[in-house]
């Protein structure tokens, strides 16, 4: 696996430098209508236990039958992660007792997952990129949910989630900073959303990360790691890593040892703490599920899915840079989600691509933020932006006027052409009108004209400002400059 040496992220401890080693296991809920092994629905937010079949609830004699779409989604995701697709994979039982695990085992894939080694490129804030290895991806059942705050002496069990398909995507321990881990989760989410295999909604639990963190002296072998379970936002992933690495360094520097264990991140207190209750005697007794048979994929099935994959963010970014002449940064911002990229391309079609990128990533994205819109709900359409760019290109609007028009668009949702007409925001390019304005300004500021002519060049800006004021900002700035230069010379 290619591991470009990253700008070493070193943490200075009291006794010298330390390096973090981070690997992630991301659980991503598969986009499907029904569950992995039953026909119960997967919609979020239903009344408790109403999206449960007797199979999900582990009733006697119930048997699993696998959902073909979940398999296709896992394969698509594997292809999107440049990974090996295993044509022969096996479903195993992972045996343990928990209140929200009705069968007493989770059907998962242990030794023979559906997807093997792959890789993903992450983009960092300093403009560099790194490749992170993907160890594997496998399919498994989600568990139900326990509610502990409904009753003084009982926990309540809701099995709506139980049996929903998850992809567990395991990375290599290739990340060396919280920033890299954050970039990894963001990029993975982007790819999953492009593929339509996971909606990536971390707030609804569609994506959760288990974070493995260890620290070591640079160049030394891996240290003992701790696993922080179920972290459910990019921000928390990054925070959890920072505080966990700090905790480990403090222990090591005080001469202590790290105990390999499962921990929980408490964002309120900004600390991780041990989950000793779940730690004891884990012996999952994996064995192939005898209710299921080995999953054999037809190579033609995989090929068909491959042929049907959408353009993924890395390819799209490269194309935006090459074809549209965008900076890697702008291209990266635009491809971060598929809707933005599609919107941008709709705007840029047949237009000045860089100007289009400036407008989309600048004023347009700002309006989404300030108005709480999404690309799908925004009343400002790609057609509106195209029209605005056309008005700039043909000289009808100056940059400044265009911004003014855009502000009106945000308020009134009108098309820019209409706004220009109604409000007379058309740029003045008529030399006669500009000359008249210049004459008036010069007349009113004869002293300054004299100063300018005696060498005080800096006053030029003052005259531009006055002329623009005189024309209510509609004068074409280039024309103003040109005419002013000539007329001030006298």
């Amino acid at each position: 696996m290619a591991r470009e040496s990253a700008a070493a992220t070193v943490i200075e401890g009291a006794t010298g430098p330390w390096e973090m080693v981070i690997g992630l296991e991301v659980h991503a809920q598969v986009v499907s209508v029904s569950k992995l092994f039953s026909g119960a629905p997967t919609v979020f937010g239903a009344e408790p236990n109403t999206q449960v079949s007797l199979i999900d609830a582990g009733f006697p004699g119930m048997l699993p039958v696998i959902n073909e779409v979940c398999i296709a989604q896992a394969v698509r995701t594997g292809l999107g992660l440049q990974a090996q697709i295993n044509l022969h994979s096996v479903f195993d039982r992972k045996n343990y007792f928990y209140a929200d695990l009705p069968q007493g085992y989770q059907i998962s894939q242990y030794l023979q997952p559906i997807v093997g080694m792959g890789s993903m490129i992450i983009d960092l804030a300093d403009g560099t990129s790194r490749t992170v290895g993907i160890t594997r991806l496998h399919l498994e059942q989600d568990a139900g949910k326990s509610l502990h705050d409904q009753h003084p002496s009982l926990s309540y069990i809701d099995l709506n989630r139980a049996g929903i398909a998850l992809m567990e995507i395991v990375s290599e321990p290739d990340m060396r900073s919280a920033e890299e881990a954050g970039a990894y989760v963001k990029k993975l989410r982007t790819i999953l959303r492009y593929l339509g295999t996971c909606d990536g909604n971390m707030e609804e639990g569609s994506m959760r990360a288990d974070v493995n963190v260890s620290v070591r002296r640079p160049g030394e072998p891996y240290g003992t790691r701790c696993e922080i379970k179920n972290v459910n936002s990019v921000r928390y992933v990054m925070q959890a890593i920072e505080v966990e690495a700090r905790r480990q360094i403090d222990i090591l520097e005080a001469g202590g040892k790290i105990a390999q264990e499962t921990r929980l991140f408490d964002p309120g207190r900004g600390e991780t703490r041990s989950m000793r209750s779940k730690e004891e005697a884990h012996d999952y007794r994996y064995f192939p599920d005898p209710d299921l048979l080995p999953l054999i994929l037809d190579p033609a099935f995989v090929e068909a899915l491959k042929a049907d994959l959408p353009e993924l963010p890395d390819a799209k970014k490269a194309r935006f840079v090459a074809d549209y002449g965008l900076s890697p940064y702008d291209a990266g911002v635009l491809v971060a989600d598929r809707a933005s990229a599609d919107f941008y391309e709709a705007v840029a079609k047949g237009r000045d691509a860089r100007l289009a990128a400036n407008w989309v990533t600048g004023d347009f994205f700002a309006s989404l933020n300030s108005q709480g819109w999404t690309i799908e709900t925004s009343p400002i359409t790609a057609d509106h932006l195209r029209e605005l760019i056309d008005l700039i290109t043909d000289g009808t609007l100056s940059g400044r006027l265009a911004k003014e028009v855009f502000e009106v668009m945000v308020e009134t949702h009108q098309a820019p052409g209409q706004i220009v007409e109604e409000r007379g925001l058309r740029q003045v390019t008529d030399t006669g009108a500009i000359e008249a304005a210049i004459t008036a300004v010069m007349g009113a500021n004869a002293d300054k004209v004299a100063q300018y002519r005696s060498g005080k060049d800096k006053l030029f800006g003052f005259f531009v400002g006055q002329v623009m004021k005189q024309t209510e900002g509609k004068a074409n700035p280039a024309a103003v400059n040109e005419l002013l230069l000539t007329m001030l010379k006298g």
Partner: protein
């Protein structure tokens, strides 16, 4: 006593068709026989009202000329099959009053074909046992007793209630399940016919699982023809069971031609086991003679890994069972024992809910799957299982079917082996191989031993070739002319 209970299933269908009697009369005769046989403890739940209602509906269908393949035939169901609205126990305390809201595929197909439901039959707890002594509802008594002896004998297991009910003429047929011999061994102990079909032939959906890769449902009847009739209704592809075979189900009665000329029958030399009573060997020889006389060709074959079958089975089956029985945790159904914490509730519920044999097997299964032992036990057993299956593949290059004894002895006395798990496990010595290899196998009564107890022979066939198995069994049945029956000592 009514002669209606003495009919074979096939003759009962003929009589119903000829309007010699009604389904209601047939059902009533059986309901009365069931009620009078409580001494045998063959039933866990009796459903006389359901039986009469089913029978009346059957009579109405027949009157309309819409008779179904098993219309009006009173059957009883091993209490391992989930039955909608009827308590289902697996003969375990842990299921409490569990009453399924669903019907197993196999039983729903029997009702689809017009059969009449008499009730649920006793069994070894979770089908784990060879004597029906592990049931939470007490042991089942074998209707047969040794000549001149009133000692209670076991009916075999785990389908002991099914075997006893069929042998005692309480029903015309019963469902059984067979994981290591649980249909064939009790059939042999009670002088009836039982077939374990090819793995995948009958859906496992709605049957309480013991060992998923071995479990298979099958019919238990008094004649081979009856087994053929019942199997046709029970078998068939079920999309709800991923291991169910997508193959057409033939009319098995058409296979009962009486003609075995030219068939090659294998006699596995490894089945001549030291310590097995001579009467078993003599019965086997007799079976060989019958088939020879009928024109079959006898060949000695070798199944080299036979002696490894039982140890393999006693790793694979408990391992799967330990996982399959994890769902009995007192949370969603079944009898819960109170506990202050979740683990305490689990441990008390499962500690009180499972009997000793089930507990023993869960512990063994948990151990062989646990970290550090998986390769030595479970993985090793799965590899040996491959070798056992390969033995049969090789043998079937030379022969069409295999003849063997069904059991290493006749029915034994209650309590005789219950203290020694290993002695009990040895009962399955001739039967587990067919489960491990997934092959169809039939037990057919072939004679009585010196003490007047029935003995059975076993025919093992190629995968999905139940037809040849039934055909050979039918020829043995005719040659043996087995007409002995237990006297009605249990009747109140």
């Amino acid at each position: 006593m009514s002669a209606l209970t003495d009919l074979s299933l096939a003759d009962a269908l003929t009589g119903l068709a000829a309007k010699d009697f009604s389904a209601r009369e047939l059902a009533t005769a059986h309901v009365e026989a069931v009620a009078a046989a409580s001494t045998l403890n063959a039933f866990v739940v009796e459903t006389p009202e359901r039986a009469l209602a089913d029978a009346e509906a059957s009579d109405a269908r027949r009157a309309r000329g819409e008779a179904l393949p098993l219309d009006g035939i009173p059957l009883a169901i091993k209490d391992l099959f989930c039955t909608k609205g009827i308590r289902t126990t697996a003969a375990s305390r842990i299921l409490g009053d569990f009453t399924p809201t669903y019907e197993s595929t196999v039983t729903s197909q029997l009702w689809r074909d017009g059969a009449v439901m008499l009730g649920k039959l006793n069994l070894d707890e979770f089908a784990m046992g060879s004597s029906n002594e592990t049931s939470a509802f007490g042991p089942v008594k074998n209707p047969w007793r040794r000549t001149g002896d009133t000692a209670v004998l076991v009916p075999g297991g785990s389908s002991g209630g099914s075997a006893a009910a069929v042998a005692a003429r309480l029903c015309l047929g019963a469902t059984g399940t067979d994981t290591g011999g649980s249909i064939r061994q009790p059939a042999a102990f009670t002088g009836i016919v039982g077939i374990k079909p090819t793995y995948g032939r009958c859906s496992r959906w709605g049957i309480v699982a013991f060992a998923s890769s071995l479990d298979q449902a099958g019919p238990m009847t008094r004649t081979v023809t009856d087994a053929a009739l019942m199997l046709r209704s029970m078998a068939g592809h079920d999309p709800k069971d991923s291991t169910s075979a997508n193959r057409a189900v033939p009319d098995y009665t058409k296979a009962l031609t009486g003609d075995v000329r030219g068939l090659k029958i294998g006699i596995p030399k490894e089945y001549r086991i030291e310590g097995v009573p001579a009467e078993i060997g003599r019965l086997w020889e007799q079976g060989i003679e019958w088939l020879k006389a009928a024109g079959a060709e006898i060949r000695e074959i070798s199944l080299p890994h036979t002696s490894q079958s039982l140890p393999t089975y006693y790793i694979v089956a408990p391992a799967e069972a330990s996982s399959n029985l994890a769902r009995y945790d007192g949370v969603r159904f079944g009898a819960r024992q109170p506990g202050r914490t979740l683990p305490e509730m689990y441990e008390k519920t499962r500690g009180a809910g499972f009997g000793r044999e089930v507990r023993r097997r869960i512990l063994i299964g948990t151990y062989v799957l646990s970290a550090g032992y998986y390769d030595a036990y479970y993985l090793k057993a799965q590899k040996v299982r491959s070798l056992i299956a390969r033995d049969f593949t090789e043998a079937y290059k030379e022969v069409d079917a295999i003849l063997a004894p069904a059991t290493p002895s006749a029915a034994f006395a209650a309590g005789e082996k219950s203290a020694d798990p290993l002695a009990m496990y040895l009962n399955d010595v001739f039967t587990v191989t067919a489960n491990l290899a997934g092959l169809p196998a039939l037990a057919v009564p072939a004679g009585l031993n010196s003490q007047g107890l029935p003995l059975g022979l076993q025919v093992i066939g190629r995968a999905f070739d139940e037809e040849t198995v039934l055909r050979i069994g039918h020829v043995i049945e005719k040659a043996a002319a087995f007409t002995a029956r237990p006297d009605n000592w249990w009747r109140v």
